[in-house]
């Protein structure tokens, strides 16, 4: 026997279980402090009026939410984000799917394409935004446009199309949406390609033996097999595009408030600009609920499609 005997409880079953729990302790404590606490805070703060500094907050109940319902700029920003999302869903995902289909067959330089298409997604939104801001620049120097797009539009004779892309309220949001697609399609492409490669090649052969042409094969084999992957891509696109804002910030700043504002930017300016923390939290809760509803909606659709 050792001189120092360990206390008996160290050998008990309960302590053993506790040691098992200790493995998860770092993760659980970080999660509690940085996720659950803020989660509680955001609901709590959304019912208060607080400037972020003063030691007292005033309880206002649901007043922030009531004000939010009538906040025209907030709903406009929501609409702007929805517009970007809509373009991302159609343009970005269609291009991604077409590219994935093209790369799924035996063609040359497959690897090259795969590598290149994923370059925009690895860049940061700040870098992407600033590069494109410079390309869409509308200034003139010595009678020539120095923004790449306007310069070439002018050169090939499409003078009527030359535009101050990012200052014109008509085009600014669309430009942001297109750049967002440029940055994002690589993700969809990689995921859809991975999905396409898991489809059993025998299915295609069987379809061909049955006399299906390539359109019929696509419609009756590829698409049904791809539904789960497509839905993951769709949900990720929606959640990602709705919450876009660094790109907006780096492309147009906060200049065209009404026309290019997106919800996250509104939350940020309510907090950092006007110092209304409670109102900012109410926006966050409201936006979060909308996002949950949208993803539940897509989940229901996906279940329906699986049953069909």
């Amino acid at each position: 026997m050792n001189a120092i005997t360990k206390p008996k409880f160290l050998y008990s079953k309960g302590f053993d279980t506790f040691k098992n729990f200790l493995f998860t302790l770092p993760a659980v404590s970080i999660f509690t402090i940085f996720y659950i606490l803020p989660f509680y805070f955001i609901f709590n703060l959304s019912m208060h009026e607080w400037n972020g500094i003063s030691p007292t907050m005033t309880f206002v109940g649901l007043e922030n939410f009531a004000e939010l319902m009538g906040d025209e700029i907030w709903w406009k920003s929501m609409w702007n984000a929805a517009y970007i999302t809509l373009i991302a869903l159609t343009l970005q995902n269609m291009v991604a799917f077409a590219l994935a289909l093209a790369c799924d067959r035996d063609i040359r330089m497959k690897k090259f394409y795969r590598v290149v298409f994923f370059i925009p997604p690895v860049l940061s939104e700040v870098v992407v935004g600033l590069i494109w801001r410079w390309i869409l620049e509308a200034g003139k120097q010595g009678g020539e446009y120095y923004g790449l797009l306007n310069y070439y539009l002018h050169k090939i004779g499409l003078v009527s199309l030359v535009n101050d892309w990012l200052s014109d309220p008509e085009t600014a949001l669309s430009c942001i949406a297109v750049v967002h697609c440029w940055k994002g399609f690589g993700w969809g492409f990689i995921m859809l390609l991975a999905g396409l490669q898991t489809i059993d090649k025998q299915l295609y052969e069987a379809a061909r033996v049955d006399g299906a042409n390539s359109w019929q094969t696509f419609k009756n084999v590829t698409v049904p097999m791809m539904v789960p992957v497509i839905l993951v891509v769709v949900i990720l696109t929606v959640l990602g595009s709705m919450q876009v804002f660094v790109l907006v910030m780096s492309m147009v700043g906060q200049g065209l408030v009404y026309h290019t504002d997106v919800p996250v930017l509104r939350i940020l300016s309510a907090m950092d600009g006007t110092k209304r923390f409670g109102y900012a939290c109410a926006m966050g809760v409201n936006f979060g609920l909308i996002l949950i509803m949208v993803s539940v909606f897509f989940k229901i659709i996906s279940n329906r499609m699986k049953q069909a």
Partner: protein
């Protein structure tokens, strides 16, 4: 008949390659334009329109580097990325191992808590997080920022590793246990080395995420000397909005390392992403 079939195939091939090539060029041209502009003088940018500049000025990079204080920003970004990724791998693998192999009450509850966090989007969470960090006195500290970013990547990593551990055969662990390995020893000597493919995916995803993160860095790190690269570029762009050659040089400095690392490791990255996509 065969000739007709062949020619249709060729035409199809040309069509597909034109499509792929045009998209590939759309991906590359903006970047080439950026590099091009970064090598010219500010005056030449406005007068010279050829794709390859007549005079090449590498001095722009030096000027941008020192003027934008990129050295410090760079170092900060490297510190944050390594600390966060290291922390995520250790913490999430410990937790995932416990969720997969060890028994304790509330195991499923805690696991589904992490999964649920992934499903519930909390877009304004930076507001309460800022308030909380303020209360804890962690504003403007590297430690606070790193902890926040670890939390961001935790859920996904735990889910990924738990699915991986669940599929892992138990024999090796049993052998290690017979050889006298404790829980911690098995985790370190058996589970972690075997989980290398999953850990690679986690490292890739989270490195990208931390390196490119912007919003928390802006809110939590107002001190100039603590800012990561993304904040640094934005700051540089705000102060040098007329010096396009310097701005483009700064952007190239910021973009080049990540594109370089990506090109070096693209095989692993795309493989990891594809497997991650199928799991997700």
């Amino acid at each position: 008949m065969i000739d007709k079939y062949q020619s249709i195939k060729t035409i199809k091939g040309i069509f597909i390659h034109t499509f792929l090539m045009s998209v590939a060029l759309t991906c590359l041209l903006p970047l080439l334009w950026m590099v091009r502009c970064s090598l010219m003088t500010n005056r030449a940018i406005f007068t010279d329109k050829s794709l390859i500049p007549h005079e090449i000025h590498f001095a722009n990079y030096l000027e941008a580097w020192s003027k934008g204080n990129f050295g410090a920003y760079f170092l900060n970004s490297v510190i944050y990325t390594t600390c966060v990724v290291f922390g995520i791998v250790i913490i999430s693998s410990l937790a995932a191992y416990a969720f997969s192999r060890l028994k304790f009450p509330g195991r499923n509850f805690f696991f589904y808590m992490f999964v649920a966090a992934m499903m519930i989007p909390l877009p304004g969470s930076f507001v309460p997080l800022f308030v909380l960090m303020n209360k804890l006195g962690l504003i403007n500290t590297r430690f606070g920022y790193v902890l926040c970013m670890i939390n961001v990547g935790l859920s996904m990593s735990i889910l990924l590793l738990k699915t991986f551990f669940d599929k892992m055969p138990k024999d090796l662990e049993d052998a290690a246990r017979i050889d006298g390995c404790g829980r911690l020893g098995i985790w370190w000597n058996v589970a972690l080395p075997l989980a290398r493919p999953a850990i690679a995916v986690i490292v890739i995803f989270n490195s990208l995420n931390v390196w490119n993160e912007y919003i928390l860095a802006q809110l939590l790190l107002t001190n100039n000397s603590l800012m990561p690269l993304q904040r640094g570029i934005m700051h540089f762009a705000e102060t040098n909005s007329v010096d396009y050659h310097l701005l483009m040089a700064g952007l190239t400095i910021a973009a080049l390392p990540i594109v370089g690392i990506y090109l070096l490791m693209q095989k692993h990255i795309i493989k990891g992403l594809s497997s991650g996509a199928v799991v997700g």
